[in-house]
Assembly symmetry: D2
Homo-oligomer: 306 residues x 4
């Protein structure tokens, strides 16, 4: 099939290449000329404007957005929407909030333009392993564009599927990432405990390798943990600051909105916030309070851990 | 090799059968005659007493304990220890506390009896898939008994290994289970959020299947979740009470003892405690307090959720 | 001073009475004729419409809203706003979201109408003990209306004050309630531990009384806990379901939005969600999973706790 | 009454002085000659050895231990026990584990020596405000020594009492401190949120003062928070490292042992561990993992927060 790919960063370029390998024609566009040039160098056909992209595809067109969630999706759609015709389809493969996807689907539908939101997982290694994809939108559209998903997925029949109407694909991805936060934090805590058990002087990478086969916790994130620990056993030089993108926060907000207790996913997020809290105002208040009622010495900046 | 297997429950019998398939000779013993009879029916050679078990094996003997952690291990070793000779080896494959294993190893060593503690993961499906095993004890012993581990493990060279001195194998297993609690809780929370998002009416089993291929959260526990949701999509009839065995508790205690913050593993345990807290005294106090200062109605037993 | 009190529920009527005792003239209004009648019976002057309320006060008027946050405030202001004149002041004493208060202040300011948001704490007992009040709005307005606050507060000079511009009073109250959730949960957990330590058979009410004097944890919530435990030592008949109003949720959302780790306040909220989670889908999935990999029995509805 | 006070640190010396003011005779002892000299300078009668202390008191003697929990209590009792006679009483006022107190009470009882464990709260300000005390031991002993407690407590009849047999006094204190951790953390989080809401530029000390009167969260810890924030509004120079003594850990362990979910108390402890976790191995592993699957840049030590 023919596809226009908007956004040629690590994820977008990887998907374009995997589609090309699968026999599809992909025309790419990225507002960042550097990214576009890199994609061209990798053999991807690119154009310089959204107009040119739309012109390069025969109707009914399929346009895949793979740009950062938020302002970039919004501004892209502002330009793209008027260029499209009834029967065209916008596929949003980024990490947008599901309510934004519902709103965008409705706006495009007013002009007869189709919509699919795709919760895409697998990361930068998906170019070879395939991408896991949860799709939200009309079943007929999913069926028509099936060849694209069959190529992008790990296998033609598995690792992808429609999960509901517009918004459902991104909702599922949001929860996927919430789960991912919890899984990552569980592994991080476990390896931290092992690391601090100096008595046994564990070789963490070797231990992780053992668990990769046959254990209850075998998983791709364990595979990656093993790799990371082989590469840098002491994790030397890495700053203990863990970023978070919106999806963990949205999952926590959704859980609360639905009255669902989700302590572990929530704590995985809070642990990331704490990792970046250079101010630690609350901890300083606690240290001060302990001095006030208990007569304990108040630790001063520059002192070592009391 | 020859091996005496003490404990012929689901795990012990499964290991005995896998070893037999691999060409080893296994003599089994279980104080529960019903369990012993079942094992015999499965083709495992069994004896009626620990004396008979020791007599049935030529020195240097290898005796594998696969009995419930705690009192059962303690009482078995009390009887077994005097029956053994220098050069024999006790292999403890259950979920004992690592400090107990260190103590037992030292006691046996006084009589020249070897010790290996094996943190065994994989559950009841290990009979076919193999067991993941972390070994604690002397390297020379591990090397001598290597054929047993090569057969029990998912593959001869992978999924098992020595991770340190006596105790280290069980320590690693303890942390493994702590991680497992965190992973399970993360999946449980994620699926609960999806279940409660009635707007999308997700088919959870189908969604889990998509993620099993290519997603960041692909894992054996996700495979099992998918199976569970296919088997019983509404989880009908299942009581929301989650048991915990000692290893989660020990992991939490170790984390605190080592000053390692482990909020997610800890919360996975607390969530299990909460699931079984029929009394909920604290919640009742809170409901009463809200009435006291806010004039809110205090919910009464038998009323619906306020 | 003269004041119009809109909303004559437990809080509004209590404030009206305390103001009257302090020598102020209060005209009350409540759309619920039952509430209005009750207030009249308590000696509060009431009128039947907002028009009548505005007519009953001489400009510049002060109108205090004490109605449920959300739709009630919004619809009241829709009617009230056009009735007011430049120089009048709206005082919003409920538990509105601070951003709503900022928006409402700006809308009224366009017509020269003043605004104060008052974070009111103290509950239904404030009628005698006084109300703690954090004020958001212009300093000049606070100064002009000072006599009202001096009467409502526990003492003329303490327990109330301006904390910032419009919105700040409600923001402070939001955080106050977040802290309150954490304090309440800490007490609830502590008393639950004591309750379950059957070996000591503690008299919880007597124990709470001891702590009320001189201990580090002495506090009004401890006073209330002692009262609750004296009244009903076993908390018999009270359902373990703890409601939450918006402010705890908003505090959690704000903490995340500001990248501030707030695990305890967050968990106090999650514990309330859990107390009302009759479905417990996640726990049922966990129980099912344990059966799948460990061969553990899956508890069935109607069985006792495993 | 006459009392021997063993341990003349901040707490022991304060109690000795309060008892003297109340008309009791106190003979003090501290193995640290510096502490003893300071107490002497404050007007406390001191002796140089435990022998001298016992000799200075007429039977039946009352000896109050106010030394650090753990080894100091153990070694003091080893020396003291043989010096005492049937009818004497040991009062342990420190923060010992309740099970140690039960064991010590039983050992002393074999020689007819009485025991009271006193959970003492109030901190260093108790010298003026009085100490809150929960007593474990025989009721007859409590009655006999009542004059001491009446003087030490905030008032003769309140703020102290017997709560159960030996061990119960320290058990109650343990839970008191667990609750205290939760309360402190709730305040710390609330003030941290306010501190980071730059838009409102709150004066935290002034805000705390408002809440001290009439609010639901009024409490001694809020009073101390207000003082701390007046003294040092930015908490400048204070290191964000919060120590913990055993009682928080024991409360968490007890909650788990009793199957009582205590997420807030537990998290208050974990937050303290995190505040001192200079290694943050888990966070570094997470940062590394994010790079591995998402292609995100891995933050390096020395870089600013990503």
């Amino acid at each position: 099939m023919d596809l226009g790919m908007i956004g040629l960063g690590r994820m977008g370029a990887g998907m374009a290449l995997r589609l090309r390998r699968g026999g599809h024609r992909v025309v790419g566009y990225d507002p960042d000329v550097h990214a576009a040039a890199q994609a061209t160098a990798q053999g991807i056909e690119t154009v310089d404007t959204l107009d040119a992209l739309v012109a390069a595809l025969a109707p009914p067109r399929a346009l895949w957005l793979m740009v950062p969630a938020g302002a970039a999706v919004e501004s892209t759609l502002e330009v793209l929407h008027p260029l499209l015709a009834a029967g065209d389809t916008v596929i949003e493969g980024g990490n947008s909030h599901y309510a934004d996807s519902q709103r965008r689907a409705a706006a495009l539908a007013e002009d007869g333009i189709g919509w699919l939101d795709v919760g895409t997982s697998g990361g930068i290694r998906g170019i070879d392993a395939g991408y896991s994809m949860t799709l939200g939108g009309e079943a007929a559209l999913v069926e028509r564009l099936q060849p694209l998903f069959a190529t992008l997925a790990p296998s033609a029949a598995r690792g992808w599927g429609r999960v509901g109407p517009a918004g459902a694909g991104h909702y599922a991805k949001m929860v996927h990432n919430g789960i991912e936060y919890g899984l990552m934090q569980a592994f991080a805590e476990g390896f931290a405990i092992l690391h601090h058990k100096q008595e046994f002087d564990f070789d963490l990478a070797a231990l992780a390798d053992i668990w990769r086969e046959g254990s209850v916790i075998r998983s791709w994130l364990l595979d990656l943990s093993a790799e990371a620990l082989h590469r840098n056993p002491a994790l030397a030089g890495i700053a203990p600051q863990v970023a978070d993108s919106g999806e963990g926060r949205w999952t926590v907000a959704e859980a609360i909105a639905l009255d669902v207790p989700a302590p572990v996913i929530t704590h995985a997020l809070i642990a990331r916030l704490r990792s970046r809290d250079g101010d630690a105002f609350g901890d300083r208040l606690l240290a001060s309070l302990r001095g006030a009622f208990g007569g304990h010495g108040v630790p001063q900046r520059g002192e070592t851990d009391p």
